[in-house]
Symmetry: D2
């Protein structure tokens, strides 16, 4: 990938950091879609999209790619950047990389014969993103709770990427970590890692002792019945994408504080998030064997 | 200590939580000095100081004991509670326990022949207090930095109670932890615990790589010369009591962000702080062999 | 599973411990195949196989099930226990559970219409077994090396169940842990867990610094070329099943010490191994919904 | 210390490793007292003591210095090396460093006006030596027990250097770690580090659940009364120097296995021990400001 050239088009602060990081690694990077940025982008904005994209091997769009399926998500740009214009401008040998590419945008890419990769669907990216997500969740817990996490009872629902990473960090802070999982193999890992395994069927007896409950499962497990078991001083932090894992209305009615914390990496650690995007982009290139 | 009776007099939210915790353990607790509290104290306020203190074995004042050397620090009280009145009311067999008892107040206690113990001068209390202090420092770092602590370079200056506790937690979050110490025996412990030992004489070569510097030494080590070595993206968190460890004016002039974070336990984790006060009070009683 | 009845037939010390553990949990257990045991089995040996198996719900054979595909592996039994006799005796509603059931024995089970489950093919068992395997590997390293694992450079080849568990324990002892993996997602996990990720293509530059190399991949990665890079003081511990991961003849010729350590759970921690077998048997029963 | 010259005189394998390590750091090193060594010492043996010591700044004797108060402990030497000859030969500006220098030998040094330092009385050395001691204790536990340390109940008596280091490593392996201490400040640290604090007065209720008991206190705490509480499957490892912490005769009579494991660093990790001796020697030189 020694001579690879990159275009970063649109996106939030992470895209700018990403462009800078790639440039620092010695690659040629053009940027487009930041003409309204009040901060120094470090790299000169290309005069137009065509100039920005000419000669590039990889065109990196934002995460998420678009909010309206029509325009590139470009909060630091004065005008609008239409996705179909981007796709018209992309040459055949260029790869379009962005995050959360919707079905509609993917369909558009196919029409324009554009090769695209959704970086947020990659396993490596998801594993790395669990790190800032876990730290963000810990930050919220520290901000909200009048107790230390050290020696607190933390219940983590789910043992996927976020559950694993979060449980390890909580353990590292000295918390008592209980992890709920369904599969016997997950329960074996939970035990192996030194967390306390909790079977779903036993969860009700652990909930009342919890100081914090972190949910990572996109399924409303914390319904009215379970919420009624939660201590009034306990905090619930829901990290699951839609539909989330908490019946928030019922929580409010019952008087249990529950926070739905989404998209933490870009919010709490945009610079680290940009570094992880860069690493994953390089992994993509590594797999292509360029 | 089975029949011990307690009076909690004045103080912030921690004193209220402390009173509740002692009561939950089954002891008789009177409270006085919270008649203006907007929250439920859980226990009934005694009508006057004498009633509050009659029959008690231990009178627990606030942390800090006083801000003016005349009155008890009682932010939730309408009137003023004069220390000399408290000392007049205390009986001979009662022990007065409070935090940061100044020389003047100590002198007053002697005049009134009152036995007093400064809870903040106890080693056990200081060790326990390092836990919320370390978490508070981590919370600030998470809030201020656009990177994760995971894989960041954290330099801890000093390996006393806070340094030890903080270094362990940072390691638990996955940070690269460098600890500066002067004594060879401390450097041996630092190595043993898996942190990277840094000799004071080598510090200058580590500072520029730091993402966060946590100071715990009450001596201005981070003077102009050292501050000029600090990266502009680096955050300095000073946890040392007066005079602190940072030349804050120079830091501002040079453009390095430095935060002086004091009295964290009461701010970030008052409930845990109250629990630790209770444990230390019980340790005091244990040592008395009551 | 409240009324389940068990028969433990043949096997080594683990089978005896397993029988005792199940009995301690309050279940009825018959044993058969230990008439030559010099130690106290805790339970009375059934007079014959039929008596032992009558009324049982689960017949638990040894790990491995057989060494010759004809007889049950029963080192503490005077006579021979023929597998076909066992299968003839098993009733329709009884489940036969054992470890490493060969193709031939499986075929025999089908002929006799016997339901069988290979416990060593279960994910939960394999995860749990990685714990004594990792400890056994650490014990060997401690015995063989004139250095401490603390601060040593440990290279772990492979990040499957054993690699993950071993890397965590080595980190817990204070070692510098390098883990080689091929998949980008594994490398992301390795980084997340705080180990040093090593790409296969970079392995050659890490090998010469290694104090111990633990192999977990059943593929001869450590061939002559790689072995020549290994330091003469370095120890190689191969934990991979056939064909192993080391060219042992070349290692000997070159003068590098390499140990092939197989079946560690039964050797270094038979009591823990028995506990894990019990837990997995109970998981099997849980899945059956008995 | 750039031009420092060293003589290593007598000692076991650690002294040889030490000499090699110092030489590898670029210093001039003479050795004497290894003429019977069957292994390659790496450095040439000086023809006689005087030649070995001429021009040296530091004369490093063995650990322990002597077994009979007359001769240097030199297991790899044909003849005898008399301490008084060594002290006669030492020049005024030379420092004699060795381990466990007895009162008699110290007295002799004074008579000959020889400056001496006992390396084993230094805090830094003792802290570092706790690392191989802890690993040695873990190795013994792994060898002797039929269970894994992971999830075992480990009781550590004492929270000095060995207790702290051992407790951390056991925790790193996944054990449940209980630590007994007397001082409230130690109990606060034990809690802070995530171990379970055990008051001496509560010890009796923890002993029966222990799978291993590690003693680090040189006082016979495990007397007949306590030993009777120990489970028959439990292993006791005594790491305390004389008089040890176990009534071994009673233990044998009661049927509890107890091992007195002394001088572990030189036995289980002589190369690491040599490295730590070198570091401490360099610390001594650093303190001298040479």
């Amino acid at each position: 990938m020694g001579n690879s050239k990159f275009t970063v088009i649109g996106g939030d602060i992470r895209s700018i950091k990403l462009a800078n990081l790639i440039a620092q690694d010695g690659y040629k990077v053009n940027i487009y879609g930041f003409n309204n940025a009040s901060f120094d982008t470090g790299l000169p904005e290309s005069p137009d999209m065509t100039t920005a994209m000419t000669g590039s091997d990889f065109v990196i769009g934002p995460l998420p790619c678009s909010n309206d399926n029509e325009t590139i998500n470009a909060p630091f740009h004065k005008g609008k950047i239409y996705i179909n214009e981007v796709f018209q401008t992309i040459a055949k040998n260029q790869l379009f990389i962005a995050g959360r590419i919707s079905g509609k945008v993917k369909h558009l890419a196919e029409i324009y014969n554009v090769q695209s990769t959704d970086i947020l669907e990659r396993e490596d990216m998801a594993i790395l993103n669990a790190i800032p997500t876990a730290e963000g969740a810990i930050q919220i817990a520290m901000e909200e709770l009048p107790i230390t996490l050290h020696e607190s009872n933390c219940v983590v629902l789910g043992f996927g990427r976020i559950g694993k990473t979060l449980a390890k960090m909580l353990q590292g802070l000295g918390a008592n970590v209980f992890v709920e999982a369904r599969k016997y193999s997950d329960l074996a890992w939970i035990k192996s890692y030194g967390f306390k395994p909790v079977l779903l069927s036993d969860l009700d007896s652990f909930i009342p002792q919890a100081d914090v409950i972190f949910n990572t499962i996109p399924f409303v497990l914390l319904d009215e019945t379970k919420l009624k078991l939660v201590d009034k001083e306990c905090l619930i932090i829901d990290l699951a994408s839609k539909p989330g894992g908490v019946d928030f209305e019922k929580a409010k009615a019952i008087g249990v504080k529950a926070i739905w914390a989404l998209s933490l990496p870009g919010k709490v650690a945009p610079v680290t998030a940009a570094k992880f995007i860069k690493e994953t982009v390089f992994n993509i290139i590594g797999e292509l064997g360029v």
